[in-house]
Point group: C3
Chain length 138, copies 3
Amino acid sequence: MKHYRKELTFRTPTRRALVHITPQIEDCMRESGIREGLCLVNAMHITASVFINDDEAGLHADFERWLEQLAPEKPYDQYAHNGAEDNADAHLKRTVMGREVVVAVTDGQLDFGPWESIFYGEFDGRRSKRVLVKIIGE
Amino acid sequence: MKHYRKELTFRTPTRRALVHITPQIEDCMRESGIREGLCLVNAMHITASVFINDDEAGLHADFERWLEQLAPEKPYDQYAHNGAEDNADAHLKRTVMGREVVVAVTDGQLDFGPWESIFYGEFDGRRSKRVLVKIIGE
Amino acid sequence: MKHYRKELTFRTPTRRALVHITPQIEDCMRESGIREGLCLVNAMHITASVFINDDEAGLHADFERWLEQLAPEKPYDQYAHNGAEDNADAHLKRTVMGREVVVAVTDGQLDFGPWESIFYGEFDGRRSKRVLVKIIGE
């Protein structure tokens, strides 16, 4: 069994942002030399997400509006978590979007359907945060 | 390490449907000959889901009503994604339900609790869409 | 390839509870002897969750309040699933929180960011329920 590990670092200029990271994960695939296996991609921080969906700006605007309805940022004092912190909503938003994806590796490629793209979902940005890529297989 | 890959195709007659697919995944298990490992089952389309829950019609009706509350299909123009498309709600519903499941493989079986069943969740159907099964192990 | 399997049992005194289980999963890691691979931790019951988030009491209170807004326990008759049962809300809450986590194993450790902790999320407790830990690798 072969294994590969890499950390990617992101610092978004805004509190919330969706960053398309498929190209970076494809670089990891090539670097790993693994042809068959599983690729785990996960946020290492609990106010961020890794998820798979469409690379379409309208949908990303819909995600922003929808998540703000489900778990609004403000008023900050509606959350028990917010005292020293102001990011309770980011913990909830990341829960909706998910921490991780597991992608099949076939013939040395991410085994994707036609429109699958991997995103880093930042919900409490403006600081450096990391994504872990772990690939196992042969 | 052994590895196995299969695509399953679904075409639901309605826009939304929940399809019980545990028997198909068990067929894949047998075909793979893998005794110990991990089985990934994921929707290859970003308006569909693979998830684990109860095979009970009342609960499925509850899912339908609940998802329509969280991310209503109509009016279509409430979503920025809907112009050429009308399926923004399907992207959001699939996000709540999840893209994939990872199931332990033990003694050549899906290692399940008493009521775990795998479902394909379709949120924009009436066309052929695929599910990927990837099993790795030995 | 090495593989390891363990069931953990939980019986919470209340209907809903969040239980920090990172220490038990770290025990499994040591017992497995696996240095590089993937660790799957999943609820074996469909009214419970395994998820990763913050070990902070305020946030846990926020989760409780938020999940009750998204999928209220009562009135029981708002759900088609509730007849012989009264736990439809628990199926929905577990859907939001997720069934499973997959964690990278590196150098014999759970490969975690600074604040990642694993929780068992119980939404229909007061009876024994199980979590499955499956680790594969080398």
